[in-house]
Amino acid sequence: MRPITAFAALCGFFLSSSSLVCAQSSFKPPQTFKNVNLVRNINLEKGYARETVNVVVENVDKEPQSTYYLAFPSDVFDKVGGLEVRDRKAPEKGPLAVDALSVDTPSDVQYFAVDLPKPLAPKSQVTLGISYYLLSSLSPRPAAINQADKQYLTYSFSAYTLSAYPTVTQKTKLKLPSTNVPDYTTTSGLKSGSDPERQGTTYTYGPYDTTEVAPGTTYPITVRYEFTKPVITASLLERDLEVSHWGGNLATEERYWLRNNGSTLVNQFSRVEWTLTNFQQLPSSAIRELKYPLKPGSVDPYFIDDIGNVSTSRYRPGKPPKRDGSLELRPRYPVFGGWNYSFRIGWNNELSAFLRRVAGSESYVLKVPFIEGPRMPEGVQYEKVVVRVILPEGARNVRYETIETASNNGLPPADQITFHVSPHKTFMDTLGRTALTLTVENLSDEARDSQLLVTYDYSFWDGMRKPVTITAGLLTAFAAAWAIGNIDVSIKKR
């Protein structure tokens, strides 16, 4: 049983989201486990940090235990995205249930509770694979550079992985995007020999024997490395998917509010210098172009910003059924560090590739990508994503599901996706269409391949609502013309 007080239970009662469990700030996980061996891989090749922790966990209690707590520093806790925990020996069984524990007052460490598939017997072990990414975790140093300068990012972490439990041995592997690493912390006294060990772009801190080190002990490490690419961040992405049964069409529109989190410019922007950089195809910290793969068969793409149509885009349609189309978008101006750019893009697809009718009923099942977004080597991070699936007018019994794959699909656990169904009124609507809105925070382009399934009921007469309404309207006009025409308004003796 999870040691949450009566206060926490009361908090849970008032919260609508099942994913959020309240705990007091003084909450400390019971010391029922130990980490026998822990290997952390930190990948900094993209504009956000991706971490994978493989840990062998042993139950040191006398009772079987089923809840393992993951600790994160409080300043990082809200930036964790796509958290997934799997049993490494049975990854095909899917991810384990994870709950975020919120606290009422600030504390240094916050926890996620992982429910093991079956209680772990005393002295037995399980290997957990924990993967997640941390948004806005990389900061540019220097914070301001010249336009054609190289950009450097720093990442800070602890040599001792933060855990709620004692750890016997641990090590951290760091994968950097380049060999140009001007600064990195070298540890002293943590192990014999040089630390870190360097091999190409990989730095290994440890292995450390941390049996005597208390859980929560930190040893700060900072690396500064070259990353002359933009740090693309979408503060908001709104994605609309509109299903039209009459038109046989799936219309997609995405609205982006982009920002470059890289180094800002010291001086004013120079168009001449930018033209030179572009001509020589030198790497730049600015967003120059976004490459956007579209599903095969996508047609009618558009790219609009606040001013109007942006003509600097190119579309190469893919060849159905296999080859993706490619939409290449050049923003109206290069987006340097600290600059913003907001725009909208949209396109159409044949509905038959995404919608199927359930045999023998009036139910339909829709399968669409949860997010698409640009595919960039430097990655894209999304602080908030609002996906709205606009179903036809009269659709009922809406249910949805995200598909879990054999590896991390980049999405958070299903109960951390908030949803609501509301009417959406637009052209030719009488009641309004049924719109399913899903909101997720902290996503990255790792979730590009994730799929969303939606089922709904929609009868023949629901479909007839539009033409019948218009028909009735015109017929009323005819009847009125006839009735008014029959009124005798002549001036004569009666």
């Binding site: 509109e242 039209s244 049964h245 009459w246 038109g247 046989g248 069409n249 219309a251 009618d300 159409n348 044949e350 509905l351 038959s352 590739a353 919608l355 199927r356 009718r357 359930v358 045999a359 139910s363 339909y364 099942v365 399968k367 249910r399 949805y400 599901e401 598909i403 637009t426 052209f427 030719m428 609507d429 399934l453 939606v454 089922t455 539009k466 033409p467 019948v468 309404t469 218009i470 028909t471 009735a472 015109l474 017929l475 005819f478 009847a479 013309a481 006839w482 025409g485």
Partner: protein, 77 residues
């Protein structure tokens, strides 16, 4: 049954609309044109019989024609 199983089971019945995208404009245009002609014929003789013989078909043609025409011009309703 998970929704993915529902999707897999329905693999034999992808949704195809009654009228394909390519024919929407032709059909919408024809229906709207006939709606206008029938309305004109109704206007020549506004009797109750005309409502039945011209008004009803004109209304139906306009109802369906408008839906197909708005789809044909890219506003998929």
């Amino acid at each position: 049954m998970s929704l993915n199983e529902v999707w897999e089971r329905a693999s034999a019945s992808p949704y195809t609309p009654l009228i394909s995208k390519d024919s929407q404009f032709a059909l919408g245009f024809t229906l709207l044109l006939s709606a206008i002609i029938l309305t004109g014929l109704f206007g020549l003789n506004r009797s109750f019989l005309s409502i039945a013989s011209f008004g009803v078909p004109a209304s139906l043609a306009f109802g369906f024609g408008a839906v197909y025409m708005i789809c044909a011009v890219g506003v998929y309703v």
